[in-house]
Symmetry: D3
Subunit: 205 residues, 6 copies
C-alpha cells in the first residue's frame, strides 16, 4: 500500500498561464511514454519478477513515477488554473477545454487517451527488463522534445529534473538486467544463447 506525502518530489512554481504549453506537456501525464504508463508498467511487472531485489526496484521506481506524474499534473494545473475561456481559444487548447474544462485527464498531446496497449507486462524477466530500458529511453526522448520546444525557465527546471531521473532509472534497469543474466537458471535463460535454446527445443519435441 501507499501513504501520501503532501509535497512534490521537486518544486513546481509556474507563474505564467500558458495552455499551449500545457497541451504539449500533457503527453508526460497520459501519453504513450509518460509517467502514468511508466508507473503502471513497473507496478504490474513486479509480481512475476523472479529476482526479489529487482521486484523491489520495480516497486520503488513505479512509486517514484507516481510522484513524477504528480509533478507533471502540477505543471499543467498551474499553466491553466487562471485560464479564461479566451485563452483557451487562442491557444488551441479549446478542443480539450470542451470535454474537460481545465480538469486533468490523461491523454497524449495529440489526443490519444491513455491506454494499456502503450506498455507491456510479459511475465518474462529478460523481456520485461528490456521493455523497461526502452521505456526509459522513450521517456527521455519525450523530455528532450519538450525542452526543444518550450523556453519558459519555470517549466524547464522541473522538466530537466524529471529527465535526469529517467537516465538514472535506465542505469538501474541496466544493472538489474546484468544481475538477472547471472542468476536465472537454465529454465529461463534465453539471452543470446541459441545453443541452449536448441537443447530446450529438443527436450520438448
Amino acid at each position: 500500500m501507499w501513504n501520501y506525502e503532501k509535497r512534490l518530489q521537486f518544486p513546481v512554481k509556474i507563474t505564467k498561464t500558458c495552455p499551449k504549453s500545457a497541451q504539449l506537456i500533457i503527453s508526460q501525464f497520459g501519453g504513450p511514454d509518460g509517467e502514468l504508463a511508466a508507473s503502471m508498467r513497473y507496478l504490474s511487472q513486479r509480481y512475476t519478477m523472479p529476482c526479489k531485489k529487482t521486484a523491489g526496484l520495480l516497486t520503488d521506481i513505479g512509486t517514484e513515477e507516481l510522484a513524477h506524474m504528480e509533478m507533471i499534473c502540477a505543471i499543467i494545473y498551474q499553466l491553466t488554473k487562471d485560464m479564461k475561456p479566451e485563452d483557451a481559444k487562442t491557444a488551441g487548447f479549446d478542443a480539450y477545454y470542451i470535454d474537460h474544462t481545465s480538469g486533468l485527464w490523461p491523454q497524449a498531446a495529440g489526443g490519444i487517451p491513455f491506454n494499456a496497449c502503450e506498455f507491456q507486462s510479459k511475465g518474462d524477466a529478460i523481456t520485461d527488463l528490456f521493455e523497461d530500458l526502452a521505456a526509459e529511453q522513450k521517456a527521455r526522448t519525450t523530455y528532450d522534445n519538450i525542452l526543444r520546444i518550450i523556453d519558459d525557465p519555470e517549466i524547464r527546471e522541473p522538466i530537466k529534473f524529471l529527465r535526469a531521473r529517467e537516465v538514472v532509472h535506465f542505469q538501474r534497469f541496466g544493472e538489474a538486467l546484468e544481475q538477472i543474466k547471472d542468476s536465472l537458471d537454465s529454465n529461463n535463460y534465453y539471452y543470446f544463447n541459441p545453443e541452449f535454446d536448441k537443447q530446450m527445443m529438443q527436450a520438448r519435441k
Copy 2:
C-alpha cells in the same frame, strides 16, 4: 508524492491455483469500473476541485484505490503463480497466457485494455462528484457479480472487504456533494437550479 509500505491493506492468502477465477477478477484491476480506473479518476480530478477539503478526500481515496489495486493484483498473482501451461489450457486462460504468460497486465475480464475513456475528469465540482458516486456504485456492482460467481472463501474474504470499502467511499462522496452545494458561489452552482441558470444565460447574451 507517495511512500510505499510493504503490506497489503487487507490480507490475501490464496492456496488454490485457479486461472479461471483470475481471468474474471482481473476486471477489478484493468476493467472499466476497477481499482486502477477509480484511482486515476480521483487523482486526476483533485487538482481543479475548488473545495480543498474535497480535494484532500480525492487524494485520500485515490491513494487507497492504489492499495485496492494491489490487493486485486495479489489475488490474481496467487491464483496463477503455480500455474502450469496445461492449467491455462483447461481454464480458458490461454489467450491471456500467450501475450502475458502469468504476468499482470491491466485489462477487463472480456479482454478490453484499460483506457482513459472509461473515466472522466470534467473540471466541474458537481459533475466530478456525481461521476465519483456512479463510479463507486459500478465498482460495488462488479464486486457483487464476482461474489455471485466465485465460491472459494479464500477469494471471497478480501473481495468482501473491498466491496465494503466501495460503500464507504460512496458515502464520503455523498457528504462531499452536500458540502459543495452549500459552499459554491453563483459562478459555479448549477445544481437543480434552472432559475439561476436562466439569469446566467441572460448575463452572457
Copy 3:
C-alpha cells in the same frame, strides 16, 4: 421501433459558415458526454431495468437524445456546408476535412472516435441510475463550456435549449432513483445499507 418525424425538436438556423465552431461542437455528437453516448446508454440500460416505469423513462429520454443528436448534427452541417477548402485550412478543421470532407462522423472535438467505453450499462438499477445522473451533469458541463467559448447567438440559442433539457433529464433520473429505493426488494437493494449487505454475505458464505 421508431418513426421518423421530419422536424427538429428545436429550430436551428445558422447563417455564418464557421468550421472552427463545428470542430468544437462535434463533441456533443461523438464525444464522451455527447448525445449519441447518452442515447445509447439509456436505450441499452432499459432492458434490464426492473421498474417498468423507469424503463419507459429510459426509452423516452433515449429517444429524445436522438433528436438532440440530430440538432447537433444540423448545427455542424449548417456551419460547414458552404465551406470552401480554404476555410478548412484557416480554421484548423483541415485534419477532419482530409478524412471526412464536410461529412458528419461521430468523434470528440479532440479527435477521439465515439466508443462504447465512454458509457456503461451495468444491469443494476441503482448503479445504472447513478450512471445516468452523472451523464446528465457531464453533458450539462460540456454545454457550459461551449457557451463559454462560442459567441454567435444563432448557435447559442439551440445550445441553451439542449442544456436546459439536460437539467430536466437530471431531475427525472433523480425522481426515478427515489422510486427505485422504495420499490426494490431485499435481493437487490444495496443503497447505503451495509447492515443488509452483511446479512447477504453471511447467507452465501
Copy 4:
C-alpha cells in the same frame, strides 16, 4: 426527430435461456457490422448527401436499423433474463457478466467495444454509397454465420427476417448509386472516368 412505437418490427419470442447464443448474437448489436454501426453510418451520411431522395433513403434505412438493433437487444435480453450466475459460468458468458451482469452493452462477440472506426462517413456521394453496399453485405454475412452456428428455431426466425432486410437494403443502395451516377455534375463525378479526372487535374495545376 423520432417517435417511439412500442412494438418490435418483427416478433421475438425466446423461451429458452442460453447465454452462449447471446454472446454470439451480440455482434449484431455492437459489432463492426451490426445494426448500431449501420444506423449510425446512415444517419451520419445523410446530411451531406447531395441527392435529396437518397438522403431520405439514408434516414429511412438508418431509422429501420434502430428497430433491428432493438430486435437484437430483445433476443439477447430474452436469452439471458432468467439466467442464474451458474448459467453464466457454464456458458462462457461470465467475463461479460462480471462487467455488465445481464445488462445490454454494445460490443462484438469477441469483446471489442463498439466504436466509430468501424464505419465511415466520407462526405462524397459515390464513396458513401459504396461504403453502404459493403456494410449491407458484411451484415448479411454476419447473419449467415449466426445461422450456421445457432439451431434454435425461436432465434432463427427473427434472424432470418433481419437477414432478408439486409438484402433489400443492399438493393435500395444499388438503385441509389445508379441514380447518383446520372445526376451528379462534373464537379463530383469521378466514377470510372480517368479522362474527366485528367481534365480536373489540369485545371487545378
Copy 5:
C-alpha cells in the same frame, strides 16, 4: 514472401520543409482509408478468397499498396527532415513532435492511431470484394481532399499518381466481382438472389 527493391514506385522530390502538409498527408499512411489499411485488408483477405485468380489480385494490389505507403512516408519524411523545433511550433505539428520527433508513426491527420477496426476481412468472397470497392473509393476521396487543400506542385505530382492508381484498383476489383458472380457455386452465391436464399433457409430449418 517479399523482396525489397530500393526505389519508389513513382519519384518523390520535395524541396520545401512543411510540417503542416505532413500532418495532413499522414492520413494516407495511418488513417482509416490510407495505404497501410488497404495493404493489410487485401493481404488478409487473400487467404480465404475461393477464386485463385482474385486471391492473386489481392496479393498484387496488397503488395502495391506497400509501395504506396512507402511513397507517402517519403513525402512526410522529406517535408519534415530539415524541420527545426520552431517550424513544428508554428505549423501545429508540435503535438506529434512531442511523441515522435520527426519519426514516422502511422496515425490519421486527426490523431487516431492506425487500428484494425478500420478495415474488414469477412471470409466471404462477395462481401470482401464490396469492402474492397468501398476502400478504393474512400482512398480516392482522401486524395481528392488532399488535392483540394495542398497547392505545392512537388507534393501534388506523386499524390495524383497515387490517386490514379486507386481508380485502377477500383476497376480491377469491379472486374473480379463480376467473375465471382459467375463462378461461385450455390453454396456461396447470395448476390441479389432472395429466391435461392429462401431455399437455403428451408434446407437448414
Copy 6:
C-alpha cells in the same frame, strides 16, 4: 517498393484442423508483439534513422517480418480452412467466426484489434533501437508461450524457426546499437552520459 515471391520463407504443412490453436497463434499476426507490429515498427523507424547502414537493417528486418506474418497467416489458414461450423462451436473459435468466418483479420488471441499504440517510432536513434531490442524479446516470449501450450509437431516446426529468427534479429539490433554509440555526434548522444547532458542543458538555458 516490394516484389512478391510466391513461396513461404519456411514451409508450413498443417494437416489437422484445429481452430483452438489458430485462436492462440493469431497473436503473432495481430497481437501487440506479433509480426505485423514488428514489420510496421521497423519500416516506420527506418526513415529517420541517421546511420544509413542501420536504416538498411530496419528495411531488411521489416521486410522479413512481412514474410513471418505470411507464415503465421498460412498456419492459421491451414488450421481453419476445412473447419465446419460445429468445429468453431466446440473450439471456442465461434466469437471470431461470427465476425470473420474463417477469414484472416489481425487481432490478438484475447480479441484486441491490432493498433499502432502497440509500437513506437520515436525519431531518436538510441531510443528506437532499444524499442527494437525489447520488441524482439517480446516476440520471442510469445513464441515460448505458444510452444508451451501447443503440442502438434506440424505447428511447432515453423514456430521454432520463427522464434530462432527473433533471436537473430535481437543480435543484429544489439550490434547496430553498439555502432550507433560510436558514430553519433554530440548533438545526439545521450547514452549513459549525464555529464554531457548537463552541458547541453547549460547551452540552452
